[in-house]
């Protein structure tokens, strides 16, 4: 049952965490972490030093090596949230593990989306001379960012763990429905009001082999970072749920002994 997953039983013995790893680390996360650092280092060096400047964009193309992967990973994170939420809601056995993955992935996604928006506006300032354009892609991204901040706020509402899982699962599925609606309305809105043609973040770039490889490495590095962060964050959520559970055990004991002393 649901309860048995988090039920720690009443035990006051402190745990002897294994010394080899930090609390949420394992062999696998170590490997992912080291790989992520190595690939990320390569992306930074190659992106800043080895790759040439773009013919059209000039030096500002270097921002793309962190901007594009973070945008992709943000979308990946929200897709993971939606899939995990639907597993939680539609599976017969409502497993809280899916809820934690959904929450962890959304948190990481919001962080990557913030990075996307900031690096994107820095790039826009260099390329367009403006920090912000009402371009469909930017507008959709901004709405999506606010939507998932709302999702995280719903996760923080008070209530039991099951309530949190159910509420946020429903919100995550509604948010996914909303993405195409927002996207279509924004694209449609822009297409009717043509303004100066906006430089497409991907389209106009003439990439040589090294530039493409660096961009590809960026996607790999950010995917590794995403996996590492979600694994740790989701385990941290389990730990804090469990220690809340222990806190509850202690509170129950305290309330019971209060009765005995009366």
């Amino acid at each position: 049952m649901k309860a048995s997953q988090v039920n720690t039983g009443v035990s006051l013995k402190m745990s002897q965490s294994s010394q080899k790893f930090s609390s949420t680390g394992t062999q696998a996360t170590r490997v992912i972490g080291v790989l992520a650092i190595v690939v990320m280092a390569w992306v930074v060096i190659s992106g800043l030093v080895f790759t040439p400047a773009d013919v059209v964009q000039g030096e500002s193309v270097r921002i793309m090596y962190v901007h594009v992967p973070s945008a992709w990973i943000a979308y990946l994170a929200f897709i993971v949230t939606a899939i995990a939420s639907s597993f939680y809601i539609f599976a017969k056995r409502h497993s809280l593990g899916f809820d934690r993955v959904a929450g962890a992935s959304a948190e990481v996604g919001v962080m990557f989306m913030a990075i996307t928006l900031i690096t994107g506006s820095l790039w826009g300032r260099l390329t367009w001379g403006e920090f912000w354009q009402w371009d469909p892609r930017l507008t959709t991204t901004a709405f999506l960012f606010v939507t998932y901040i709302g999702y995280l706020a719903v996760r923080r509402l008070d209530g039991s763990i099951e309530q949190r899982a159910r509420r946020s699962g429903v919100i995550a599925l509604l948010a996914v429905l909303e993405i195409p609606l927002v996207h279509f309305s924004v694209v449609f809105w822009r297409s009717l009001h043509q303004r100066a043609t906006i430089l497409d973040p991907n389209g106009d770039v003439k990439m040589d082999g090294l530039m493409l490889f660096t961009l590809f490495s960026g996607v790999v590095a950010f995917t590794l970072v995403f996996a590492w962060l979600v694994l740790h964050r989701q385990r941290t959520m389990l730990l804090s749920d469990l220690s809340n559970e222990r806190g509850l055990d202690n509170a129950i004991l305290a309330r019971q002994s209060e009765n005995a002393s009366n």
Binding site: T8, M14, S15, S18, S22, S23, V66, W123, T236, R246
Partner: protein
């Protein structure tokens, strides 16, 4: 050169945000891990 500043800033912000997230997560993990027995950590 303004370009260099903007490009540098975007790299620093990106990596800084990731590191901050990682450090906060690990620190929280360490705190709550003390309160939880190893048998309840399925990854160990």
């Amino acid at each position: 050169m303004q370009n260099a500043g903007f490009i540098f800033a975007s790299y620093v912000l990106t990596i800084g945000a990731i590191l901050l997230f990682a450090v906060v997560t690990l620190r929280r993990a360490k705190e709550s891990a003390k309160l939880v027995e190893d048998k309840n950590k399925p990854w160990i």
